[in-house]
């Protein structure tokens, strides 16, 4: 199976809401479904995608299955975005240097 990507997971508003909900506490599929107007089936489909992306962990407590947020995986998203940040930081320190080297008498344009 082709592994899904975390960005695919967070691209959907329903899945973002699910992630926000289970970030607060582990929830059962039924409890989760109550937050949405769509069918339970639709909600479980979203959960399945989140599970495939390893953003959600399943935990069995008694008879119930609970879903909880896989925090490490969420960090992956932040790490990727951190690359952007580093890129900008590097670029801007070069710009600092360019500005520093500009002759102050020549900056009137």
């Amino acid at each position: 199976m082709m592994k899904r990507d975390v960005f695919q997971a967070i691209a959907d508003p329903t899945r973002r809401t699910i992630l926000a909900l289970i970030a607060l506490q582990a929830m059962t599929p039924n409890a989760l479904a109550e937050h949405f107007n769509t069918s339970r089936q639709a909600v479980s489909k979203h959960i399945k995608i989140l599970a495939e992306c390893e953003l959600v962990q399943q935990k069995q407590i008694g008879r119930e299955i609970y879903y909880q947020l896989e925090v490490t995986k969420m960090k992956e998203i932040d790490n990727w975005l951190a690359q952007f940040k580093t890129l900008w930081e590097d670029r801007f320190s070069q710009l600092d240097q360019v500005l520093f080297n500009l002759n102050p008498n020549e900056n009137e344009k």
Binding site: D5, F7, Q8, I10, A11, P13, R16, W80, L81, Q83, F84, K85, L87, W88, E89, D90, R91, F92, S93, Q94, L95, D96, Q97, V98, L99, F100, L102, N107, E108, K109
Partner: protein
């Protein structure tokens, strides 16, 4: 000097925006020049070890900037930025794209809208950049395109993406 300069970086996953704010220790006219004159842009636009090389720059509404990101091995990645609006010394907006050396668009990659605004404060000039992606998947595509090939390739592609 650098450590005292503010830099903000935030991601709005709902609006599909990346926002970057940065202060520069120079007057507005200088900062504007560094962002708009090709000789200066070529000096800083590409993060090391890449270099930006401008082929054509028509800084007018409807005009565009065509340039290559040149890697350490001489490899070239062409990109262009189409200018949508320009307000002298205040800001400009553009849409970026990957392309070939003649500026022909590579439509396999999503385009990003850029808005860049300048404001002069006491001893610093602040630049605000807002990148807007059509879809969050676009951001994913652009990022993952690079990451599959490893870190160096990733930087190269991010460079090309963010370079406009």
């Amino acid at each position: 000097m650098k450590s005292s300069l503010l830099m903000d970086f935030s991601v709005d996953k709902v609006k599909n925006q990346i926002k970057v704010k940065r202060e520069f220790a120079a007057p507005l006219t200088k900062v504007w020049a560094a962002w708009t004159q090709k000789e200066l842009l070529d000096q800083w636009w590409a993060p090391k070890p890449w270099k930006a090389r401008t082929k054509l720059r028509d800084f007018t509404v409807g005009g565009y900037w065509l340039y290559a990101m040149v890697g350490p091995e001489g490899e070239e990645h062409w990109a262009r930025a189409d200018f949508k609006s320009i307000e002298e010394l205040k800001g400009f907006s553009l849409t970026d794209a990957f392309c070939d050396s003649d500026g022909k668009l590579n439509t396999e990659f999503p385009r990003t809208d850029w808005s860049i605004t300048f404001s002069e404060g006491t001893a610093v000039t602040t630049v605000d950049i807002i990148l807007t992606y059509a879809k969050l998947e676009d951001l994913e595509q652009i990022i993952s395109f690079g990451f599959k090939e490893g870190f160096t390739m990733a930087l190269e592609n991010l460079d090309a993406l963010l370079a406009h």
